[in-house]
Amino acid sequence: MSDLLWWVFASLAIGGGLGMVTRKNPIASLLFLVLTFFSLAALYVLLGAHFIAAIQVIVYAGAIMVLFLFVIMLLNLGHDYRPDVRGGAWIVAGFATAGLTGWLLTRVLTTEGAVVAQGGELEIAAAVREWNAVGAIALPLFRDYLVPFELTSVLLLVAIIGAVLLAKRRV
C-alpha cells in the first residue's frame, strides 16, 4: 500500500518538476511546482516525517508559493508572458547536465549516505511514541540546536527588513 503510494507521489513529483521546467506560462510552472511540493509532503508522510510534511505544505505550498504567485500576478507575467525557454543546444545541455547531476548525486547518496548509519527509523519511532510527532522534533531543536534556531529568527528578521527596504518605492 505505502509502496504504491510512494510510486504514485514520486511520479507526481517528477512530473511536477518536469512540468515546472518545461511550461512556458509562469503560472503553469508555479502550479506544477506546487504539485511537486504537495507530493513531497506526501512522501514525507510516507517516510514517517509527519511534522515536516505539515510544515512543508504550510511554509512552501501555503506561504512561499503564494508569494510567488502574488509576484507573478502583480507583475502581470501570467497573461502576456513571453516564452523564456532557451533554445536548441541549451535544452540539450541543460537536460544532459541534469542527467549527469542526478546520476552523480545518486551515486554519492546511495553509496555513501545510506550505509553509514541505520536504525534511525526506530529511534524516531521511539521518540514519537514518547513525545509525539511534534515533540520529537521540538526537543532536539530547542535543546541541541537552540543557538541555530535562534539564529534563524535573526535571519528572518533581517530578511523582513531587507524585503521591506527593497520593495518600498521610497524608504
Binding site: 532557451r86 541549451w90 545541455a93 541543460g94 547536465t97 549527469l100 547531476t101 552523480l104 548525486l105 551515486r107 554519492v108
Partner: protein, 678 residues
C-alpha cells in the same frame, strides 16, 4: 650635551622663527596678497627676533670656553636599521658665527626689501620665500649631522630657485632659476655620494661621531677619504659657484637685487665654504683634496676676476666679483686656514651685501627714471649710467666704501681678510706641495689687482664722467628712501670696521692701534671648532713659513698689497675716466681679448657644445628609442595589448547571461564531484 657654563637660549626658536614668518607670509600670499602691512611687520620682525636671540646666545657663549659643540636632539628622524638620524641642532663657535652672519645680514636685507619690493604685487610671496630661505639656511648651519645639513642645503637651493625665478613670467628669469637649480643638483649629487660613503665606512652621520671616528678609521691621504672629500667639494663647488659649476651664479642675478645680495653674495653661496670648514677634519686627512680645493679656489678667483673686467651689466660685474671672492675663501680653507676663510666669508658678507644693495639702489633709481619716460633701456647696463654721483650722493659714498673694502684698502674690512688669505697661502707653502702654494699665492695677488681694477671701472662708469642716461631721465633720478638707505649705512659701517675684529698681530701690535679689539679675535674664537682639523694638519705642516715666498713678513706683504690696490685704483680711475662709452643700444661688440672676456671665455658656449647638446641628443635618442619604442610600446603597451587580447578572449565567456554562469558553476561542481567519485 650640556656645558657647565653655557646653555643655549631657545636654540630651536632661532630656526623656527623664520619658519613662522614663512607660514604667516605664505598664508597672506595665498589668502590676501594685498595685506602688505602684515608682511612688512612679520617678514623682518621674525628676523629681528631671531637675530636678537642669536646675539643673546653669542654673548652667553662669549665668556665661556666651550670645548665641544652643544647638540640638541629634538626627535628621532630616520631610525632605519642601524642608522639613527636625529633631528638635531648643534651650536658651536663656527655655527654661532654663521648664525650671526645669516640672521644679521638677513635682517638688514629684509628691512631693505621692504623698500625695494614695496610696489611688487608678489610682496607677500617674496617675503615668504625669503623667510623660508633663512629657515633653511639656519638648518644648514645649525644642523648636527649630515642629513639635517643636507635638508638645509637642498632647502636653500629650492629657495634660491624660487627667488631667482621670482618674476617667473619673464622667460629669461625662469630659465636662470632652472639653470641654478640644475647645476646645483650636480653638486648635490656629490654631497649625497659623500654622505653615503661616510655612512658605509663610519656607520654614522652625526658630525660628532664622524669627526671623532674619522682620524682613526680613515687612513691619512688614503683614496677613500680623498674620494669622500672630493665629492664633498663637488657639492661645495655647486653651491658656492666654483669652477666648473660657477656658471649659474651670474645668471642668478635675474632675481631681485636684495636676493642677489642675501643669497647669492652673503649667505647661501658661502655654504660651501662653511661645509668645507665644518668637515675640516676630513679635508685635513686628504692633502690632495686640500690642494684641489685651494687650486680651484685660486683659479676661480683669478678667472672670475678676468671676466669681471669686461662686463657691462653692473650686477654681472658684482656676480663675478662674488665668484672671485668665493674663490679666495676656498683658497683659504684649501690651505688649511679655516678661520681665515670664515673671516673673509664674514667681511665679504658685509661689503658684498653693501655693494649689491648699492647697485640695487642705482638700478632702482635708473629703472624708475626709465620707467617714468618709457625708455626701453636696460637699467642694469653701466653704459647707460655715468655721473650718477650728483643724483645719488649717499649711494655713491657707500659704494666707494664697499669698493675700497673689496679692493683691500686699509683700514677697510676686506684688507684684513684678503691679505690674510694671501699671506696664509704663502706661509703654508711648506712641505711637498710648496710650489703649488706659491703659485696660488701669485694668482691671489693677481686676482687682487684685477679686483681693484674692475671695481674701480664699475664705480667710474656708474658714478663719474658724463651722464649717459639722458637729460629727461635725470630729473627723475631719486635717492633711495630711508628704509633702504639705513641698511646701506649700517653695512657701510660694518664694511669699514668689520675687519678690525681679526687684525693680524703684525698690525695690531703697532702702538697706534693699541685701542682696537684683541688681535686675531676670530681665530681665537674659532679655535675650539677647528682644533680637530688643526691637530691633524699642524704636525704635518710644521712651522709656518713666516717669510715666504719672497722674503718679508706678513706686515710687509700687507703693505705691498695695500700699495698695489691704491695704485690700481688711482691709475684705473684716471684711465677709465678717459674712456668714452656710448649707451648700450648704440655700442658695438667689443673686439679681441676684450670680446673673449666679455663673452666670459666662452665657457657657457663650451658647456653648451660639450655637455648640454650631447646630453640633450642622447636624451632625445633614449627618449625615442628606449622610452617610446621599447618601454612604452613594446613593454608597457605590449603588456597591455597582450593582456587585453587575453581579456578579449576571456570576455567571450562572459555573456552576462545568468544561465550561462549557472551552467558553468554546475559543470565545475560536476567535474569536482566526478573527480571525487571516479
Amino acid at each position: 650635551m650640556e656645558h657647565a657654563g653655557f646653555r643655549p637660549v631657545l636654540l630651536g626658536l632661532i630656526v623656527l622663527l623664520p619658519l613662522a614668518g614663512f607660514v604667516i607670509n605664505g598664508a597672506v600670499a595665498l589668502l590676501a596678497p594685498a595685506r602688505k602691512r602684515i608682511v612688512t611687520w612679520a617678514g623682518p620682525g621674525v628676523l629681528a627676533l631671531a637675530f636678537a636671540l642669536a646675539l643673546v646666545n653669542f654673548f652667553g657663549m662669549l665668556g665661556v670656553e666651550l670645548e665641544q659643540a652643544i647638540v640638541r636632539d629634538y626627535w628621532s628622524w630616520m631610525p632605519v636599521g642601524n642608522l639613527e638620524v636625529a633631528a638635531a641642532l648643534q651650536l658651536d663657535q663656527l655655527s654661532m658665527l654663521m648664525t650671526l652672519i645669516v640672521t644679521g645680514v638677513s635682517f638688514v636685507i629684509h628691512v631693505y626689501s621692504v623698500g625695494y619690493m614695496g610696489d611688487d604685487p608678489g610682496y607677500a610671496r617674496y617675503f615668504a620665500y625669503l623667510n623660508l630661505f633663512v629657515f633653511f639656511m639656519l638648518v644648514l648651519v645649525l644642523g648636527a649631522n649630515f642629513p639635517v645639513m643636507f635638508v638645509g642645503w637642498e632647502g636653500v637651493g629650492l629657495c634660491s630657485y624660487l627667488l631667482i625665478g621670482f618674476w617667473f613670467r619673464d622667460r629669461e628669469k625662469a630659465d636662470a632659476g632652472k639653470k641654478a637649480f640644475i647645476v646645483n643638483r650636480i653638486g648635490d649629487l656629490g654631497f649625497m655620494v659623500a654622505m653615503l660613503l661616510l655612512f658605509t665606512n663610519l656607520g654614522s652621520l652625526d658630525f660628532e661621531e664622524v669627526f671623532r671616528a674619522a682620524p682613526a678609521t680613515l687612513a691619512y691621504g688614503g683614496a677613500l677619504v680623498t674620494t669622500i672629500t672630493l665629492f664633498l667639494f663637488l657639492g661645495a663647488t655647486g653651491k658656492s659657484a666654483q669652477i666648473p659649476l660657477y656658471i649659474w651664479l651670474p645668471d642668478a642675478m635675474a632675481g631681485p637685487t636684495p636676493v642677489s645680495a642675501l643669497i647669492h653674495a652673503a649667505t647661501m653661496v658661502t655654504a660651501g665654504v662653511y661645509m668645507v670648514a665644518r668637515t675640516g677634519v676630513l679635508f685635513a686627512l686628504a692633502p690632495v683634496s686640500m690642494i684641489v680645493v685651494a687650486g680651484i679656489g685660486a683659479l676661480t678667483a683669478l678667472f672670475a676676476a678676468t671676466i669681471g673686467l669686461a662686463q657691462y651689466d653692473i650686477k654681472k660685474v658684482l656676480a663675478y666679483s662674488t665668484v672671485s671672492q668665493l674663490g679666495y675663501m676656498f683658497l683659504a680653507v684649501g690651505v688649511g686656514a679655516f678661520g681665515t676663510g670664515m673671516f673673509h666669508l664674514m667681511t665679504h658678507a658685509f661689503f658684498k651685501a653693501l655693494l649689491f644693495r648699492g647697485s640695487g639702489a642705482v638700478i632702482h633709481a635708473v629703472h624708475g627714471a626709465f620707467h617714468h619716460t618709457h625708455k626701453e633701456w636696460d637699467p642694469q647696463d653701466m653704459r647707460n649710467m655715468g655721473g650718477l654721483r650728483h643724483y645719488l650722493p649717499l649711494t655713491w659714498i657707500v659704494m666707494w666704501i664697499g669698493t675700497l673694502a673689496i679692493s683691500g684698502v686699509w683700514p677697510f674690512a676686506g684688507f684684513f681678510s684678503k691679505d690674510e688669505i694671501i699671506w696664509q697661502a704663502a706661509a703654508r707653502a711648506v712641505g711637498p706641495f710648496a710650489p703649488w702654494f706659491t703659485a696660488f699665492w701669485a694668482m691671489a695677488i693677481a686676482a687682487a689687482v684685477l679686483t681693484a681694477f674692475y671695481m674701480t671701472r664699475l664705480m667710474i662708469m656708474t658714478f663719474h664722467g658724463e651722464i649717459r642716461c639722458g637729460a629727461a631721465e635725470c630729473t627723475h633720478l631719486h635717492e633711495v628712501p630711508a628704509v633702504m638707505s639705513l641698511p646701506l649705512v649700517v653695512l657701510a659701517g660694518l664694511s669699514t670696521v668689520g675687519g678690525w675684529v681679526n687684525m693680524p698681530h703684525a698690525i695690531a701690535e703697532l702702538p697706534v692701534l693699541g685701542w682696537l679689539p684683541s688681535a686675531e679675535w676670530i681665530h681665537a674664537w674659532l679655535e675650539p671648532a677647528v682644533r680637530p682639523a688643526e691637530a691633524i694638519l699642524g704636525p704635518r705642516l710644521g712651522a709656518l713659513n713666516e717669510a715666504a715666498p719672497l722674503g718679508g713678513g706678513e706686515a710687509f706683504w700687507a703693505a705691498v698689497a695695500f700699495a698695489l690696490a691704491v695704485v690700481v685704483i688711482g691709475v684705473g680711475s684716471s684711465v677709465v675716466l678717459r674712456w668714452k662709452y656710448r649707451p648700450a643700444l648704440e655700442s658695438l661688440e667689443p673686439v679681441g681679448l676684450k670680446k673673449v672676456l666679455y663673452r666670459k671665455w666662452y665657457v657657457d658656449e663650451a658647456y653648451e657644445t660639450l655637455i648640454v647638446r650631447p646630453v640633450v641628443a642622447t636624451s632625445r635618442a633614449l627618449w625615442r628609442l628606449v622610452d617610446e619604442a621599447l618601454i612604452d610600446n613594446v613593454l608597457v603597451n605590449g603588456a597591455g595589448y597582450t593582456s587585453r587580447a587575453f581579456g578579449w578572449a576571456g570576455s567571450r565567456l562572459q555573456t552576462g547571461q545568468l544561465n550561462t554562469y549557472a551552467f558553468a558553476v554546475v559543470l565545475g561542481a560536476l567535474i569536482l564531484l566526478g573527480f571525487m567519485l571516479l
